[in-house]
Every structure is written in C-alpha cells, then in structure tokens.
C-alpha cells in the first residue's frame, strides 16, 4: 500500500500515461483517493510525534522544577553569603561576619502598594519612597527593600504585617578596627563578595566554589585567614603617619614594617585610607594603596642597591675610593651635581654617608649598563611584583637604557618602582642576601627561605648593614637612631616629576631603617608625598626631617611590642668582616 513508490506512474490511469503536456498536466491534477489511507496514517504518526515532544518537554519541566520559591532562588543567586574571618598574626579579629537580616518584597503578593510604601518608609525613614514605589510597581517576583537592617528595625517591619514583605537572614561583613588595616584588607560588598585587598584574594582562592557546593554553611565552618599583620604595630604606624601628615602638611603618606627574615608584612599603611565597613570613598583617586599601586622614584634609597651591586660584583670593595672633585659630572648635555658636595675623595661608607651622587654613578658605571640592568632585574625592580594583594603596579622602566640612565638610576632617579618592591630589595641587602617576596599571610622563616633566591653574598649584606649603621650613627639617619636598637637607615629625597620636569620644591621623601643593624629583624619604611618644611627643620623638607623622624617614633613605639629588647651597651663585634678589612669608620 505504499502510495509514493516510483512505480506509481505505471499504475496511473491509462489516459495519464499518454505522452505530452496535456497528459502530464492531467496526471499532476488528478486526485488519487487511494493514496489517502497511507497519508492519513502518516499524519497520525506526525501528530503522535508532536504530542510526544510536548509530553517530553512537560516531563522535563516537571523534573526541573525544584519546588523552591522565587525568593529562595533570588536570594541564593544574589548573595554568596559567608566569608571566613580574617585575623592578625596574634589572632585579633580584623574582619568577621555578623548575622543580620534584609527586608525583601514580593510585589505580586502586595495588595496595596501605596500603603506598603507608606508604612515601610515610616519605619525605615532613609528609604526613598519614589524608588520603593517604583520597585513594588514592577511585576517581578522578588525585590530588595533594604539590606542589612537592625534587629529593632526588623521587629518594627514585622509588626507592620504587610503581606508580601519578608526577611532573609544574611551575613554582614564588619571590620571592627575601622580603617586601621584598610588597604591590606580591602573590603567586601553588600553581597559579601570581596572587592579589593585580601578580601578579594580570599575569593580568588575558591571560597565561592566551596560555598556553592554546600560544604560551608556558616563562617565558622571556614578556616580563618591569618595575616602577617600585627594590629598593634599597624595601629602605631598609622597613628604616627597621621600625625606626620598633619605636621609636615604632606598630601599623602605611607609606611610599612616588614620582617626581613620571613618577608611578612607586619604593618602596611597608606594614607588617606577609608573605612572598609563603609567604603563609600574607597575608589577616590587619592585612596590608592601607595605601597604597591603607586610607583615612585625612590631617590637616594636606591644608592644602597648601587653600592651593593658594586661590592658584590667585585668591581669595588669597602675601601675603594671615588673622587668627587668638581662637584658635577657631564653626560652629553646633562649635568649631574653633588647635593652635599664635599669635593674630597670618598670611601664607600662615605659615599653612602654623604649620599654622594658622583660616587654612586662611578660605582654603577664600573659595573656597566648591562650589569646594572641584570642586577636590578635580579633584585626584582624591573618587573611587576605580585603579592596576595590583587592590586599592583608595574615599575616604569626607561625604554632605552643608556649610560645616562644607569647614571641617574644609580642615585635613584629615572626608574619608578612600587615602594613594596623597593623594601623587598632592601630586605635582601640586609638579611644576608635572600630576596624574599613580601607576603601578607603568616609564615615561618623556613617557608620563606625555601624559595627565596640568594641574590648577594653574605659579606656584601654585612657591608650594607655596616654602611647603614654608620649612616644611622653619624649621617642623615640620625633622626631615627633610637637608643638601644642599633638602627641603620637611609634617607631618600626625590624631586617629583610634574608635567615631565623635576619640580624643585615638591619632594617625595622616603626613609628606610633596619633594626637592629647587627642581626636585622625588621625593616621600617616611611614615605611622605610633598611634605613641607617647618620651623624646627629650618624650612627643610628633605627625608630626614619628616620620614626620618616618623620612622624613629615608630621604632620607639613598636620595637618593644615586637619583642625587641633595647640594648644599652653596643654589641661587641657587630661587623667582624668590616673590622678585619679595616673599613672607614670601624676605627
């Protein structure tokens, strides 16, 4: 009974088989009722297939329906809920979750929307009535009325008894120490998603997946994240910088304390900062974390790197001498002058002590352009440094690096790096030669040194501690020489580049200190942006008069907290190699 077989034609009525157009047309127009039985059967099949498809689709929807309400679905997609606590190195809480409730509404269940708006705004007066009315006017199944309300507000809203208005428990992120560690912690938004700082780092570690899989229900299920930050030191550092910023009328300040043997950041402050519990101004342009998002020419602090390079390369030793006669050097059309000109021939410790530009340049040129570049690369000054903090900036490296660049970078101009990057390098200069990437998480010395490359010889490191100590005793770092702590340090004053020119009266000052110099434990850094001179400084606004003083005060306050006992008798043989070599200043 197959009607559509090819032999149809042969079975067609006789007249249709006649050749010619008429026959063809007739065949075309003839209705073959005998085919209809099969064709109707085919239609039954088609209908069956169509109904089966609808049935399958219905069953799929039945299987897919989870019976959950729109509300729970909306809440689960809109909030990630919980976060682990963040603790400082001593277990003090820096960030934690607090249970709170949020009010939501189901507009389609609200009978009188105007009444609901009136009642809700009476209880929650900071709600915008027009906005709320518009929200309730939509046909959506779920809208937020107000997030994270107080228990008293919850009771009041509850008492209103508006149908279609309900509460969802939520977690509110709180930072009990206010702005103290703002730039390290970052913050989480109202949906408890980490937006910046360590909070964002935590999210990148797969927390969301864990919660999504249902393993973690409350924040106590999550292991707290312990930072290397010491809240007490953090507070003291911020306090001193705040005082300093006021006294020196600087536009910004930053500071850090680092454990030189583990790379742990004990404190990190960048001012101005923000309150992570209410980070309304966190995205203002001047609120960046100047320690790792800002890049700066570090000035004379970089001379320490130059001297270390020269000593470590063997092109110089501690007793090498450099003439500063003439007080200036020419590179083509450019002239570089001595700042504290002596005109004498200087030994290496003296170059450091007098912060001699010419001495530094001669040392760098002795190593050569390529050697200089390779050394800075090894010291991680030419690439972006990444830590746990998601925010970071790449250094600004000269495009073409010639002799003039080596000359200026030797005394800290022409290469802009993040201060965090610079202190990692200085840490390596004093800790025996290990370049340790700074961390914000607690770790041990063994863990830190396991993958820290040795970048300079221990003897070179001793020489650097020696010259820094001499500078602390007799040089520009005297302002930070807190008795009993054997402080070594280096000032750095760089003229700020404004519109492509060095501005004579706008300084960027840094002070780096190592405590104690003989067996270094901590590195201190203070930075001021555009500090002004004041009466006691005689109008000077160089590093010693602001960053230096602040560092001294910080050391004085925090060294006892960090468990460093003051030693009122100077150590017997602090720098044995230097003494053996008879370096300048040991006698």
């Amino acid at each position: 009974m197959s009607a559509d077989t090819p032999d149809d034609r042969n079975n067609a009525p006789a007249e249709a088989r006649r050749p010619g157009l008429a026959g063809g047309l007739r065949l075309l127009f003839s209705l073959r009722a005998d085919k209809s039985l099969a064709r109707i059967g085919l239609m039954s099949l088609a209908f069956s297939a169509m109904f089966a498809a609808i049935a399958v689709r219905l069953v799929m929807m039945g299987a897919g329906a989870d019976g959950r309400s729109d509300t729970s679905r909306a809440v689960s997609t809109e909030t990630t809920g919980i976060r682990p606590d963040i603790l400082d190195r001593n277990g003090e809480v820096l960030a934690t979750d607090v249970r709170s409730v949020s009010v939501f509404a189901e507009p389609r269940n609200i009978i009188d929307k105007d009444e609901a708006v009136e009642l809700l705004t009476a209880v929650l007066p900071d709600l915008d009535a027009t906005e709320l009315r518009n929200k309730l006017g939509t046909k959506r199944g779920f809208v937020w009325v107000k997030r994270e309300i107080t228990p008293r507000q919850q009771a009041e809203v509850h008492r209103l008894g508006i149908p279609g208005v309900g509460f969802v428990p939520e977690n509110k992120r709180v930072y009990p120490n206010g702005p103290a560690a703002a730039h390290v912690l970052g913050f989480a938004n109202i949906d408890n998603v980490g937006i910046a700082g360590i909070e964002k780092y935590i999210d990148s570690q797969g927390l969301g997946d864990l919660v999504g899989l249902g393993f973690a229900q409350t924040s106590t299920d999550l292991k707290p994240v312990q930072l290397s930050i010491d809240l007490r030191v953090q507070h003291a550092l911020r306090d001193e910088l705040l005082k300093g910023i006021e006294k020196y009328r600087a536009i910004a300040a930053a500071g850090a304390v680092m454990d030189v043997n583990t790379g742990e950041m004990i404190a990190l402050v960048s001012l101005p900062d923000f309150d992570p519990s209410n980070p309304v101004d966190a995205h203002d342009k001047d609120r960046i974390n100047r320690m790792n998002v800002g890049v700066y020419e570090m000035g004379s602090t970089f001379k320490a790197l130059t001297i270390a390079m020269a000593l470590d390369s063997g092109k110089a030793n501690i007793n090498s001498t450099y003439s500063t006669a003439g007080g200036m050097m020419r590179f083509g059309r450019q002239v570089i002058k001595e700042y504290h000109g002596t005109g004498r021939t200087l030994t290496v410790p003296e170059v450091f002590l007098h912060s001699s530009n010419m001495g530094s340049i001669k040392m760098a040129l002795a190593v050569g352009v390529e050697g200089h570049k390779a050394f800075l690369k090894k010291m991680m000054q030419l690439d972006r440094m990444t830590t746990e903090l998601p925010e970071s900036a790449a250094p600004i490296v000269p495009q073409r690096w010639g002799e003039i660049n080596t000359a200026t970078i030797a005394f800290g101009h022409g290469l802009a790096v993040a201060p965090l990057q610079a202190i990692a390098a200085v840490g390596a200069l004093v800790n025996g030669g290990y370049l340790i990437t700074p961390t914000f998480l607690k770790r041990s010395e063994a863990e830190a040194k396991a993958n820290a490359p040795m970048v300079i010889k221990p003897e070179t490191s001793e020489a650097m501690r020696f010259v820094m100590r001499i500078n602390g005793e007799k040089g520009s770092a005297r302002k930070a020489d807190v008795p009993g702590y054997f402080v070594g340090g280096k000032t750095g004053t760089a003229e700020k580049v404004i519109n492509g020119r060095y501005a004579k009266n706008k300084n960027f000052t840094t002070f780096t200190a190592v405590v104690p110099s003989d067996k270094p434990r901590y590195l201190f850094l203070a930075i001021y942006d555009e500090p002004k001179g004041y009466v006691e400084s005689g109008g000077y606004s160089t590093a010693a008069w602001n960053a230096g003083i602040t560092t001294g005060k910080v050391i004085e306050r925090v060294a006892p907290l960090l468990g460093l006992p003051p030693r009122f008798d100077p150590p017997e043989h602090p720098f044995p190699t230097m003494a053996r070599l008879g370096a300048w200043g040991t006698r």
């Binding site: 009974m1 009607a3 559509d4 149809d8 079975n11 065949l27 075309l28 127009f29 003839s30 209705l31 073959r32 009722a33 005998d34 085919k35 209809s36 039985l37 064709r39 109707i40 059967g41 239609m43 039954s44 209908f47 069956s48 169509m50 109904f51 498809a53 609808i54 049935a55 689709r57 219905l58 069953v59 929807m61 039945g62 897919g64 329906a65 989870d66 019976g67 729109d70 389609r108 269940n109 046909k139 199944g141």
Partner: protein
C-alpha cells in the same frame, strides 16, 4: 437507554455516531470549565469584572455550543455541505464587514458587534472552509463534471486574502496548514507536495525577512535575551512553580501577572495550579481525540467523509498542539486558543460546529448509500488482475 429495536431518529444517531469521540470532547469541555476557574478570575479582577465572569460566560456559551454540536451531528452529508456553504458565505461576509466597519482592537479588524454581542467571523469560517474543501477535492477525485480540484485550490486564496488584510496571521497559518494537510490526504501528485513545501519555506523566510513583527517573535524565541520575553518567561515560571502536582486550585500567583491567562496561556495556569501531571493528562486527552479522529477518517470509505474528517481533526489538533507548544516554549509566541479550554464564545461555537460536522461525517453508514463513490484501497490491484 436508546433501544435498537425500532428505528428512531435518536436511536439511529446513538448507534451510528462515534461515542468515544463524543465522550472525549465532553470530558474536554468539563476540564475546560475547571481550568477556566483558575485562569479566569485573575484576568476578570484585572479588568474589574466579577470574579467568575469568564466562567459564567463560558457556561453561557457552552450550552448553545453543545446544542449546536449535537444538532449538527444529526445532519446528513448533503446537509453538512449545505450548512457549511451557508456558514462560509455568512462568515466571509462577516470578515469583509469587520474589515471595513469592525473596531480596531490591537491593530486588527477582527470583530463585529451586534447589539452588545461581539463575534469573530474568522472563527466560523474555519470549519466551513474545511468541509467545502473536502467536498471539492472529493468531487475532483471522482472526475465528475465539477472541476473540484481547481475549486479546492482556489478556495484557499479566496479565504486567506481577507484574513491577511485583517490582519490575522494566526488563522491564516492554521487554515493554510489544514488545507495543505487535506491536499496531501486527497492524494495529489507528490510533485505538489514538494512544490508546496518549497513555497511554504519561502513564505516563512519572506515573512521573517520582511515582516518585522514575525522576525521579532522568532528572534525572541531563539534568543530570550534579545527582547521582551516577559510573557513566555512568566509562562515557564508557572510550570516550574507548579511542579508535578501543582500549588492547588486558587493557589497560583504567577497567573496574576500572566497576560491572556484565560485564553492563550491557560495551559500554563493549569500547570501552576493543577500540576504537570494534569497537563500531561490533558495532552493525552487531546492526543486521544486527534488520533481517534484520524482513525475514523481512515475507516471512512466515502471520499468526502474521509477528507472532511481529516480536515476537521487537523484543524482541532493543530490548534491544540500549537497552543501547547507555545506554552511550553517549543514554538514562538502565536495567538492561538486551546480548543474547548480557553475562554472565548466565538471560538467555542466554531469548535462545536466543527466537531458537530466531524461527528456527522464519521457516522456509520450503510454502504449502499455511497457505493458509487467508494474508495477501494485494493481497487488498483483488482483492476489489474
């Protein structure tokens, strides 16, 4: 019950009609009223009518509809054709009147008002068109003096051109599809099928290309984010909220925001309140009626009966499937009601008329009545033997 001992009009009717088909249709009407109690009130409330306005109206229409269906099913074949012809004439007249004098509702002129009663004449044209087409094709097959095939072909443009002018693309598409199905069943040469298939594809492409509203609908179907998909999103959320067993009668909430909850989207409302299991049951009921109808069509040996039954059941089945497929998002949105379940007076009366015709043409008849026109499946083989 009805006695077989003596030949009465009713007795003859009772024993010759397909009682399973009638039972299926009756069940559908009852189910429709129950579902309308879910889908009607939210729309009635929105329009400021009394809660059960649509249910009451539907009952009001259902009584004459059932009467019309049963009355029609008593008709002889000759009277079926005449009734169809008269209905067709009136309906086409109505369509043309509506085109010129009807009020514009949602950009189309589809309605005629007679003293407070609104009628959609295009609804009535559908069953009449099917019966007439079946008649023409059947005559064409007999090679009588009447140029049946040609008339059957010409009837299509004559019917759909005024519909396109209204415009009413939904009805146009439905009528064209049914006509193609009947054409197919009538046994025209396979070349025609290829030709019409190609023309159909071309027409669909042209509509997509040149009619912005068609294009928008299809794009919205393929990519939900491309535009306003509120209607279908809401319908789908009805299904997911209902789950297997539904929220319970009167417990639905999505229906309150679902447009056309009482007409085009009543299937989704049913899912929310009565559950997907009930939806599958409704689907099975439709499938039963359609497959039963097609089986009866195959059994009918008289060509007109067979074609008319096929066409009428196609009309019913396609309308139901398209509506359900739109509801479950297997097809782009298309305004089509669910037969006997969606609210609508014109639609109900027209369906009753169509089903009355169907019952009439599928009645058992003594072969002697139509011996000369019989379709013999094996006649070919016999003539060659």
């Amino acid at each position: 019950m009805v006695s077989r001992a003596e030949r009465t009009l009713v007795g003859e009717w009772w024993w010759t009609v397909d009682r399973l088909l009638i039972a299926g249709l009756g069940l559908l009407m009852i189910a429709g009223l129950v579902f309308l109690m879910a889908g009607g009130p939210p729309v009635a409330e929105r329009l400021g009518l009394s809660t059960f306005h649509f249910v009451n109206r539907q009952v009001l229409f259902l009584v004459p509809a059932i009467g019309l269906m049963i009355a029609t099913s008593f008709l002889s074949l000759r009277h079926v054709r005449r009734a169809a012809m008269v209905t067709y004439a009136f309906a086409m007249g109505g369509i043309i009147l509506a085109l010129h004098f009807g009020p514009e509702i949602k950009g189309a002129h589809r309605w005629l008002s007679f003293g407070g009663v609104s009628v959609q004449p295009s609804e009535f044209v559908k069953p009449a068109f099917v019966v007439l087409t079946a008649w023409f094709f059947a005559e064409g097959g007999r090679k009588s003096d009447m140029p049946g095939g040609l008339l059957g072909i010409l009837l299509l443009p004559a019917t759909i051109v005024p519909l396109i002018l209204q415009p009413d693309f939904g009805q146009t598409m439905l009528i064209t599809l049914v006509w193609c199905g009947m054409f197919f069943a009538a046994g025209l040469h396979s070349l025609w099928i290829v030709g019409f298939g190609g023309a159909g594809i071309l027409a669909a492409l042209a509509a997509y290309e040149f009619v912005p509203h068609v294009r928008a609908r299809i794009e919205r179907f393929l990519d939900k984010s491309s535009g306003d998909s509120f209607q279908i999103d809401t319908a789908l959320s009805s299904f997911s909220r209902g789950g297997w067993f539904g929220k319970g009668p009167g417990e639905g909430t999505v229906k309150r925001i679902l447009p056309d909850a009482h007409t085009d989207f009543i299937f989704a409302v049913t899912a929310e309140e009565f559950g997907i299991v009930v939806c599958v049951a409704v689907l099975c009921l439709f499938a039963f009626i359609v497959l039963r109808g097609l089986l009866l069509a195959r059994r009918a040996e008289e060509p007109f009966c067979r074609l008319a039954a096929t066409g009428l059941i196609l009309l019913f089945g396609l309308q139901a499937s398209i509506n359900m497929m739109v509801n479950v998002h297997l097809m782009p949105a298309k305004g089509m009601t669910l037969p006997f379940i969606s609210y609508g007076g014109s639609s109900l009366i027209s369906l009753a008329l169509g089903m009355g015709f169907l019952i009439a043409v599928t009645r058992k008849r003594p072969r002697s009545e139509y011996m000369d026109r019989i379709v013999r499946p094996f006649s070919r083989g016999r003539s060659e033997a």
